[in-house]
């Protein structure tokens, strides 16, 4: 188990300086996520343009994996429609749980930096919290979601 594989430079960078961080004013949807096991909390705000995510921001307190994953996610989904986001999430999920299947998936771009998480099963939930929260926001659900 190699720490450098988990804490890649991209992850550390997005943890230190999360992108799209902070409240989005006048959002069309938002959702809160919570991982009670480690106390990670996250809010995702969306501005929608029809079926497309026109803007997305997040805020929260969490570990490096959860913060970096959320930051990378906001960059990746901006401009995408629901179907594309759902497909992306499925590929991320494969990356986190079946890395060998996902190894050749070049379309993941920077998100591929999360590949190391698969070696640390206890941390997969940290990386997926933001995606569950995004999903809840997309469903216009105002309820808090939980990864537990």
């Amino acid at each position: 188990m190699d720490l450098k594989d988990l804490y890649r430079d991209v992850i550390l960078d997005h943890n230190r300086q999360p992108r799209n961080f902070g409240v989005l004013t006048h959002p069309d949807a938002h959702a809160d996520g919570h991982n009670p096991l480690c106390g990670d909390r996250l809010t995702v705000w969306l501005r929608l343009d029809g079926d497309r995510v026109a803007d997305i921001r997040f805020e929260g307190k969490g570990c490096a994996i959860s913060t970096a994953s959320a930051s990378l996610m906001t960059e990746a989904v901006k401009g995408k429609d629901r179907v594309a986001i759902q497909q992306l999430y499925e590929r991320i999920h494969t990356l986190l749980t079946q890395p060998h299947v996902a190894a050749s998936d070049a379309s993941l771009g920077k998100l591929a930096a999360l590949a190391g998480v698969s070696e640390f099963p206890a941390r997969v939930k940290c990386a997926t919290l933001c995606w569950h929260t995004l999903n809840a926001a997309l469903e216009h659900s105002a309820d808090a979601v939980s990864t537990e």
């Binding site: 188990m1 720490l3 804490y7 550390l12 096991l37 480690c38 990670d40 570990c63 490096a64």
Partner: protein, 415 residues
Amino acid sequence: MAAPRASAARGFDAAQVRRDFPILEQHINGRPLVYLDSAASSQRPLAVLRAVEYYETHIHANVHRGVHTLSQAATDAFEGARERARRFINARSTREIVFVRGTTEGINLVAQSFGRARLGKGDEILISALEHHANIVPWQMVCEQTGCTLKVAPINRRGEVELESLLGLLNARTRLVAVAHVSNALGTIVPVERIVQAAHSCGALVLIDGAQAVAHSPIDVRELGCDFYAFSGHKLYGPTGIGVLYGREELLAEMPPWQGGGEMIRTVSFERTTYNELPWKFEAGTPNISGAVGLAAAMDYLESLGLEALAAHERHLLTQATAAIERLPGIEIIGTAAHKAAVLSFTMRGCHPHDLGTILDSQGVAIRTGHHCAMPVMTFFDIPATARASFGCYNTEADVAALVAALEKAREVFS
């Protein structure tokens, strides 16, 4: 850091003790295991493993219900374990020793038996702000069931129970005070003797959650004067799934059973059932017999080490680890009570406890990270979680050195 020595505490050779724990001989992620999570669950010495194995391979049968030889032998082993536990905490009688699954079940027993039957609107239960969820939620449930009220004595920034405030909350309506002996999240040793005195002078009973205390210093329930004392085998170098609820005989005798079934009855008919005597009245169903046997062996083992010497050894490690960690940049120790036991909770600036836990694990160092089942404590300190190192009889100065080195590694990764 000084080269690893046995221990500065005279009469205690932790390096030797370590050899009694086969699980510690392994490597984790290519490094020798450094186990600093005994507050969550301690490891078991060979003496315990062998006692359980002997029981399982030579003695096992159901207890209290057969005339055959093994049934008698199993009953003797189980009741012998009860006598061992009585001596361990100096209870007056084995009728005061109820075997339960652990601390959680012991507290729930008191809540559901004493609490539900005896409490009502206007009555108050008093706890402190440093309690484990196991000493919060059962009381909230009783409050919902009976209409009584839960009061919470505050803690200060050092993580000590504000004794004056607690005493101020005691009044004629207080029926029960339930406090931890030692906080699992902060390490604080709570002055339970003072609390018992004050509570009794108000006519309130006292339950002590001893989960974090029993493995670290000798416990004498008569000297403490408490009414109930609950603890778990698995934090005492014994098996999981077994623990003890001590209750004063006069109280237990008056309390209704909380679960019905076999063992706890004397006679059953469809018209009328009479209950067994103490302590079996509270032990419905076939108990964890091998667990009790293992727990008794763990008590023998601990006493052979010497609880006073062990306490001194752990104090030494705690002092040393505290000093070493405090020197690291960005570290904040959470829980700085004047009197602490074997628990060191902390945060590192710029590195979430969850990341710390992963990095330390990669170095073979096992610590606990999270809220430690004490969410109100985390809320009080306005943090989501802490990293917690806790010490036991097998920990050495070399373990403290490994912890410090692993923390330096974490800082390197997150610099």
